[in-house]
Symmetry: C2
Subunit: 415 residues, 2 copies
């Protein structure tokens, strides 16, 4: 039996944080809108990380299936990536002129990503999804944008909802929302807005929160691609979350189509802070025409880290590793659930799996099971997809399944 | 006489970059919209940096007065900042839970910045100016935003111009533009839009491009502050560029008023990638209510760097150092100009000085003088304010003035 963790240090530090930081810990790392792990089970503050593990400030080790919500793809503190970054840092990082590692990184992306004729770098996923939409509007001289319901494309006003604080109707009045996998709805949207749709933006599959994740139905993306081409609409793939976990050539390539613009961020440099927009030649001049820059966008260290990260992902064929590990974990977790009489749904791609205990529509039973896993050292989360990293070992998976069983047993006993 | 540089490596690398990167080098670091240094004088790519110097890929050294457009405030590769960052990196950077250095950094900002009751961290200056505007709209339930003509607040659509590519009228239809230092115009704006103005956003003084920089007239900010208070409008200070170069307590404090929200980025961590929004207690819950996060926003290394940077700025009283160095440089440059029969205007704060040769309205003479300085190893730029860093030596200033004189002489000979 595994130790059941308590978090006195995290909880006292959270009170300290809440005095000087709105929400204490905000965003996707925070308890309010992020992980939905019950607070009594939540390691709010991390002390250190290595490989597939994080340690919290109460001294507990966790097998980490969130991977910093995506950036950790090779394992925390990967020696090859860190060494490349360290060498670049000795020369310079954020300088008055960019380093030529920027060119090296762009060339590597163009060589690697199927739909990339060029690359443009920024800091946030949100920077590049926003730039993609601006580019589509600039190129087409149209205003409307089609979204798939359940989407997440960042935090800029154009991608938020009308009832969110700080958003005004003008931010979202040209947004059209259609159901995922519904090509008939997309056809209707094009028919009803002829010559007005600048872009269709979508994640490669529906990995939204609070919902079983859905892969594209056969032919879905090919139909979307054809409708965009036929209507001279720009097709934007937001690969910020899934990018490089399915296919190093891009998740569009994995699903058998080509985007016009594709957005990368999280797994691009194993946690070093960089994002990238890649795209087709016909949009390159439009990108050049936009007024778009940032204080740190040409910092050299993240570029050096990104080169080392992509080269290593190629060398070890990381998508296959992630798929194999994810498949094994999925199979064994589902088997364990059956053993304890539970109906565990594991959806989405195995490298980005989403979990839901389907025995209870309120999701409370699910949250309790997740909490019992976390408190025993497996960092799952309640209503967000998970992430596999390449340093996860078979022994980690064995231990994860053991802990999942203890958690099932605990939840069963409480019922 | 100093060597006159040529740039064969930069020029060939630029051709390589242009194949895979829109514009080759984009944004404020690029030749197109950034520095306006004539291309034959422009070191497009940096190799390394140390202290007050950058070296380009043709092996030339420059005394750098752009400081990566602001981030370099202590000197490149500052040993104290780099050591703090290195130590944190060994533990962890971008993890599934934030490190408590986030709290330490927030507490330090609250202790340091006069108008800060709390701090919220992101990656770009643009992230925090955008968040400030969203917070003002959420708090006031109003839409209109007042800008001072000549402003720059980042690249999001709300802050761009209607005729910029990719911008639609709905992005900017609630923007009101008034002249800098014109309190009568601001009063009229409030009268004509009673109960409708969510925020006034301004840089602490007018340090726009292509214009002599203008300090606030006596009583200007106090009048703006009063109008905002009287109209329940949020006063946002964009201290991204000037922050920590005038006053460690904030540039609002330097000019004798308090902002409701204040935005920091460039000088916050000596080039490590982090930005911060700070503000008053009454807006803290509004900030908490916004949906606003990013993949790397809680990365620990930039926080550790930021703490070391602010502590060192306090220890050495960096604003005084920058002011003294800037004053000396300004005085000697103006004296040198007179010696060669030129009318050199040096405007703005000495730590962020703006240069203009006023002998020629076309600005071509000015650009030629800048080019002659750059080609001899002084990285000035044509139509953007400059930045002083604390590692700049008296000897650097002496050499700068010598080179400026050679450049004046060269321009005089060409006339």
């Amino acid at each position: 039996m595994h130790e059941v963790y308590t978090y006195p240090n995290s909880q006292s530090q959270f009170l300290r944080a809440a005095k000087v930081i709105p929400s204490g810990v905000y965003g996707h790392l925070g308890p309010a809108e992020g992980c939905f792990i019950p607070i009594e089970a939540y390691p709010l503050f991390g002390d250190r990380a290595q490989g597939s593990y994080i340690w919290d400030i109460d001294g507990h080790r966790f097998i980490d299936y969130m991977c910093a919500y995506g950036p950790n793809i090779l394992g925390y503190n990967d020696p090859d990536v860190d060494e490349a970054a360290r060498k670049q840092r000795e020369k310079g990082d954020c300088m008055t002129s960019p380093s030529t590692v920027m060119i090296d990184f762009a060339e590597l992306l163009v060589d690697t990503v199927a739909s990339a004729d060029w690359a443009f770098f920024a800091k946030n996923g949100n920077d590049v999804t926003s730039m993609a939409v601006m580019a589509a509007r600039a190129y087409t001289h149209r205003k409307k944008i089609v979204f798939f319901k359940g989407y997440y494309h960042g935090v800029s006003p154009w991608t938020q909802k009308i009832d969110y604080p700080g958003i005004i109707e003008e931010d979202v009045m040209h947004n059209i929302y259609i159901p995922w996998n519904d090509t008939a709805a997309l056809e209707r949207a094009f028919a009803e807005n002829r010559g007005e749709i600048a872009a269709v933006i979508g994640q490669p599959y529906m990995h939204g929160n609070f919902m079983d994740n859905q892969l594209p139905e056969t032919g879905f993306w090919q139909k979307v691609r054809k409708l965009c081409t036929d209507n001279s609409t720009v097709l934007i793939v937001d690969d910020v979350r899934a990018g490089f976990r399915l296919d190093l050539k891009g998740s569009d390539h994995y699903f058998g189509f080509e985007a016009d613009l594709i957005c990368f961020c999280k797994a691009l440099a194993n946690g070093y802070n960089v994002s990238a927009l890649c795209g087709k030649e016909f949009l390159k001049n439009t990108i050049s025409s936009l007024s778009y820059t940032g204080s740190y966008w040409l910092s050299a260290v993240p570029f050096a880290a990104g080169i080392a990260c992509i080269e290593k992902m190629k060398r070890i064929d990381s998508p296959k590793i992630l798929l194999d590990k994810g498949n094994r974990l999925r199979t064994e977790l589902m088997k364990a659930a059956v053993e304890y009489g539970f109906d565990l749904r594991v959806t989405g791609m195995p490298s980005l799996f989403y979990l839901r205990l389907a025995d209870d529509d309120s999701l409370m039973l699910h949250q309790r099971w997740i909490a019992e896993c976390v408190r025993r050292g497996v960092f799952f989360t309640s209503h967000h997809n998970h992430f596999i990293n390449a340093s996860l070992t078979d022994r980690d998976i064995d231990e994860t399944v053991e802990i999942a069983k203890e958690a099932f047993s605990e939840v069963r006993n409480q019922m």
